[in-house]
């Protein structure tokens, strides 16, 4: 096995997945390398989340292979914390007691040091999502799956959370697969952005911009604007002529996932 081969953390070949008569993924090939931040864009219902669930082992492929490095963790759109356990217990969920110190350090890393004994219900949306991030990171993931983790946050909290994720991913170097509706978010965070449409990738491009990519500097960077314009065009959102690529008009694609995921999770 070559050195290069060992760097791959996610490998998907010829993946096909259908729900009933509807084929959501049709012949997907994907490789994500260790330490690479890969963002997946696409309109609602194109199978972005399905691809993520296949990587997490929550769905079975109908055809093709899905391979990942052994340690895979996920942050979902909602925090999905156990309301009956304290914050630290949520972070170290299922891990031995000896990892409590590590859990505390992970909480400190996401800016929640000292909140170990808080109950999840007392946290704000952004704080709860940071706990979910700490819970994913404390397991030293080789693959970190992010399923629209910022979608439910307000705009300011979202920017802070994006910075935090960028910083933590740069430090821990997992392979990241981010699913998002938000072109700006993808361009800001990812090394590579792909657009999924009609079951296949229609774009797969590297974003080789310098880091850190601050929110304000990125907005005026011509390279960022160029990426943004092209990705939006691929997503079928053409900016009106004359005010092409005005940074302030964030474009988030209409969300269809929201109606399936209430903040209470699944009613069992």
């Amino acid at each position: 096995m070559t050195r290069d081969e060992r760097e791959v953390a996610v490998r998907v070949r010829g993946l096909r997945k259908a729900f009933g008569a509807r084929t959501v993924l049709d012949g997907i090939d994907l490789e994500v390398r260790r330490g690479e931040f890969f963002a997946l864009l696409g309109p609602s219902g194109t199978g972005k989340t399905t691809l993520l669930r296949l990587l997490a082992g929550l769905e079975r492929p109908d055809a093709g292979t899905v391979l990942t490095a052994p340690r895979v963790t996920t942050v979902y759109q909602e925090p999905r914390l156990v309301v009956a356990r304290r914050v630290l217990a949520n972070v170290t969920l299922g891990l031995p007691r000896s990892t409590r110190g590590k859990g505390g350090r992970a909480l400190a890393e996401v800016g929640l040091g000292g909140r170990e004994r808080a109950w999840p219900a007392t946290l704000s949306g952004g704080e709860a999502q940071r706990v979910a991030l700490a819970r994913a990171l404390v397991r030293d993931p080789q693959v970190l799956l992010l399923d629209e983790p910022f979608a439910a946050l307000d705009a300011l909290t979202r920017l802070q959370a994006q910075d935090l994720v960028a910083e933590l991913c740069a430090r821990h170097r997992p392979a990241v697969v981010l699913v998002t509706h938000d072109v700006d978010e993808a361009v800001r965070l990812a090394d590579r952005v792909a657009v999924l449409d009609d079951g296949a990738f229609v774009v797969d491009r590297a974003i080789d911009l310098p880091r850190p990519r601050g929110a304000s500097s990125a907005a005026s960077d011509p390279a960022v604007l160029e990426h943004r314009r092209e990705l939006l065009a691929r997503l079928g959102v053409a900016p009106p002529s004359g005010q092409a690529s005005v940074p302030s008009d964030r474009v988030a694609l209409p969300s269809g996932q929201a109606d399936l995921t209430s903040d209470r999770g699944v009613i069992a």
């Binding site: 899905v66 391979l67 891990l95 397991r139």
Partner: protein, 289 residues
Amino acid sequence: MTAEIASDAGTVARRPAAGPVDELRPPPWIGQRRRRPAISLALRVSVPLALLVAWWWGAGSGRIPPDVLTGPGAVLSALGELASTGQLADYVLASARRAALGVLVGCGAGLVLGAAAGLSALGEELIDLTLQMKRAVPFLALVPLFISWFGVGETFKVALIAVAASAPMYAYVYLGVRSVDRKVVEAARGFGLRGARLAVSVVLPSALPSVLMALRISLSVSLTGLIAAEQLGATEGIGYLVTLAQQYYRNDYMVLCILIYALLGLLIDLAIRGLERLATPWRGQVTAR
């Protein structure tokens, strides 16, 4: 950071950060298992079927003495005997009528009280403590009192079953109403829904799964109530059959009664499941996504 924590899959990896990445492998399946309906059904009936076969074999080979547990043959002939005289149908119908009437009255009261206590603070303050105390009183303790009030006629029987059936209904409806999403209720209040309209169009539909669960338990409890109620002053009913079996020490009747109760329980369960499917069509479509 070193990789020192076992992953969810249980693979313990202790490698330095500079070391090679572990080999790729398909993600372990953590999704829900969906069995084919036919296999699921086969698994469901396998345990009762195995028990039946064991009983058959035990009685046939003489390992189970007849005065401990009569064989299936004797029970079947007892069943045939009762069925041929029409007594069985009469008994089941008589019991079903009493149970239905009692459950209707008891569940109705439990539903109204549970909804009132769950919906309003005043209702909770007025009702809950009393009903918690009432719940602590075994309904069988009320038998002598009820006989002195109602005699041993139909009223006594229906009243006893009603009291027995009301307790689980109250408890589950109260709990169900309490666990309805408060945000949805807030929103509905914002659209001008109040009181009974809020209860009927928002809260009770959302609490319907709890109500149906309560109905299932109330119906089973009513079977218990039947035994107690039909021991006295009854000339028909499956509770009366239990009394007969006890008086004449008929092991075949005793076993038959147990089987009838088990079958009734199964029928109740199937009926409520069907009702659940019809009354809560949104529940089958919930997926973790």
